[in-house]
Amino acid sequence: MLPPHRTGSRFVVHFLSLIFGGSLRVSGSFDAVATDLAVAAHARPPIWRNSTILKWSIQVVVLFVVLGVIWFLADQARSNLSARGIPVGYGWLDDPANIQLGEGIQTVDSPERRLTMSRALWVGMVNTLRIAVVGIIFSTVIGVLVGVARLSQNWIARKVAAMYVESLRNIPVLVQIILWLAILGSLSSLTLDSGPIPGWLYVSQKGISLPRVFLADGFYQFMALMGFFGVGIWLLRRRLRRRQDLLGGNQRVGLRLSAVTVVALTVAWFVNPVMAFMGPIMRGIETAWGSVPEQAVQILVAVAAITGAGWWIRGFLLSHRSPAGMTKLIDDDYFKMVFAGLVAALMVLVITVIWPGMASWMINSGSDFWGLLGDKFGDGRGARPLDAMRPTLTEGRFVNFGPSGLTMTVFYASLFFGLVFYTSAFIAEIVRGGILAVPKGQSEAAAALGLSRAQTLRKVVLPQAFRVVMPPLGNQYLNITKNTSLGIAVGFSDIVQVGQTVYNKNAQTLAVFSIYMLFFLGCSLVISSIVNFINRKLAIVER
């Protein structure tokens, strides 16, 4: 293995010779490695024929062109808006909203809790996420069931599933959403004694109201306690697994674990106030965090960025070492290492020059976070982690997020049903395709070994089908998230509808659209990174 200082000098010389297209001559004063490289560098192709140099320089040029075009457009928009007297920027986010929101975590403006523009947009985002997350869960469950049913040996199940898929995926989703609104709107009006189960479950043209389970005072203490118990349960699980491996037969691992978990949950439910001591600890962290000087954070971030880049480059070089020594790095590799260094430099530049306020922002939000956690832990507050409440009528209607149960408005419900049924039809087809993609020989081999049908499915077919299913399933999750914007057709207060109301009021169309784009981009990136992570975990080793 080469000592680091030699690697470093070799790296610098090589990179310089790369840039100067092999014209660089190194005098004899360098060490032997460098001279060797200079000889090798002499044989390089001229710069205009070096494919690596061309590839990277074209990328740099394209990057600058794209940035230039964006800057030009932004500048045009800025001057045009100024000419029309519309302020540029995001200052309006703190203005009072004066918007009537249909539903969400906050619908009215009150002196204690102002409904600003940013708050209104946040309410819209939460509404969108409510539909997207719950929709993803439900469409997956329904889709998997229907997909498996389409391959069932039961003739009726097969035909019913086929009809479900063919009818739902061939009608535009917007039509389905509006149809659901029409169906729900034709239900009877809401009274105290209406609903399938009066006092518990109401279904009416106002929506669907059911008891709400919510997090009560003891929740965070309960979760912290369960965290400790979880470690114990995990250790027990490991022990039981090992026992199963050693003894064989059926050691009832699942049954024993569930029993222990139930006991742990019960204990934690009643004794959770013991965890209240964590509140003061977190307040302490809040104070400590808040008293960190800005310069210290700046230095810390800068050091972290540089160290990070250094570690990355070191790991990169190490991964290119064979037992015999350094493998030859290709030109791409040198550019990659320089790029890592540039990213670190940019970070340093951002924290010190471009956005010096970032340090104080990190200090404030960090200490706010710990303060919030400290508040949640309280000082030995109420013992119950969860509480439930039945829907109650106030002024002839249900408040959908108040102390009055949980209400799915007809707008939410129609968008939800429309999206879930539509998407589940596609997911069913994906699941069916995934199962059919597993070669028949696999289940034959499993059957020939004596595995039962259920074992074959669980141990052989599904693990392989899941691998095929995952990427298109991720696409459907992205679709359902983006399709929530169709809520505008039924007046559901999702981010798009709220945003539209906002820019109709203050003409900040571009700013609102930039928020839309960032929001949906963020959602999509989260979903696809989860899917990619699972994909990597499931990848079959080929070579």
């Binding site: 020989g441 059957a447 020939a448 004596g450």
Partner: protein, 257 residues
């Protein structure tokens, strides 16, 4: 003497029957794949089935562990008749090992997990014990050092040997081989055939569908020639290759030898 018992030496005739087929018929839609096959396989016998493609060789052995369902006739494996009774089917399948032309290893499991899957889940063996047994079997087929790898990382010959070890892990009484070397590169055929020869020498009851005439001549106790869903000729290797009685057998041998 019925065709099923033809060409048996008196010593072999005295052994118990492992597999009995009586008038087995099988249709795929309108196409009749098996037209009343009669066949008896004795304990510790190696039977090689020959015939042109489409003659029903594979269908026959797939019927024996009920990967295909025969429609008429009777198949009795180790004293248990194959019917729709699920318990019988699972019992027979765990006693009859099968090796496929395309290996059909489980690509998502390591070699070791491929071999231990059935012992752990069907026989409910402890994992540690199943793994010790699996390593013995991998040693027997000559690739213990590949245990941690995945099937995709092995050559065709190695994969087929893993497949043999996987079947042997269930301690089967009978092994069925469905053209085990047809998908292999020529230089890998012998490593698989060597494993099969060693298995035969250990006294395993085997039915082998193959085109490897050298193997058939060397290892088989009896040869069966099938054509168009019928057993045409049954004979010992000597008489079969040097002095076949049927015209169709002669024609087949003249084409392949």
């Amino acid at each position: 003497m019925s065709i099923a018992d033809r060409a048996l030496t008196s010593e072999m005739a005295s052994r118990p029957d492992m597999i009995q087929c009586r008038g087995v018929k099988k249709w795929f839609g309108d196409f009749q794949a098996l037209c009343g096959v009669d066949l008896t396989v004795k304990e510790r016998e190696v039977m090689v089935v020959l015939g042109p493609s489409g003659s029903g060789k594979s269908t026959l052995i797939r019927c024996i562990n009920r990967l295909e369902v025969h429609q008429e006739g009777q198949i009795v494996v180790d004293g248990v008749e194959l019917t729709n009774d699920l318990r019988n089917i699972e019992k027979i399948r765990s006693e009859v090992g099968m090796v496929f032309q395309l290996f059909n290893l489980f690509p998502h499991l390591s070699v070791l997990d491929n071999v231990t899957l059935a012992p752990i889940w069907v026989r409910k063996q402890p994992k540690a014990q199943a793994e010790i047994r699996a390593m013995e079997l991998l040693e027997r087929v000559g690739i213990p050092e590949q245990a941690a790898k995945f099937p995709g990382q092995l050559s065709g010959g190695q994969q087929q040997r893993v497949a043999i070890a996987r079947s042997l892990a269930m301690n089967p009484k009978i092994m069925l081989f469905d053209e085990p070397t047809s998908a292999l590169d020529p230089e890998m055929i012998s490593e698989v055939l060597d494993v099969m020869k060693a298995l035969a020498a250990d006294g395993m009851t085997m039915i082998v569908v193959t085109h490897e005439m050298g193997f058939a001549r060397e290892v088989a106790d009896r040869l069966v020639f099938m054509e168009a869903g019928d057993v045409v000729e049954v004979g010992t290797p000597e008489t079969f290759f040097t002095n076949p009685t049927e015209e169709r057998t002669k024609l087949f041998l003249s084409q392949i030898l």
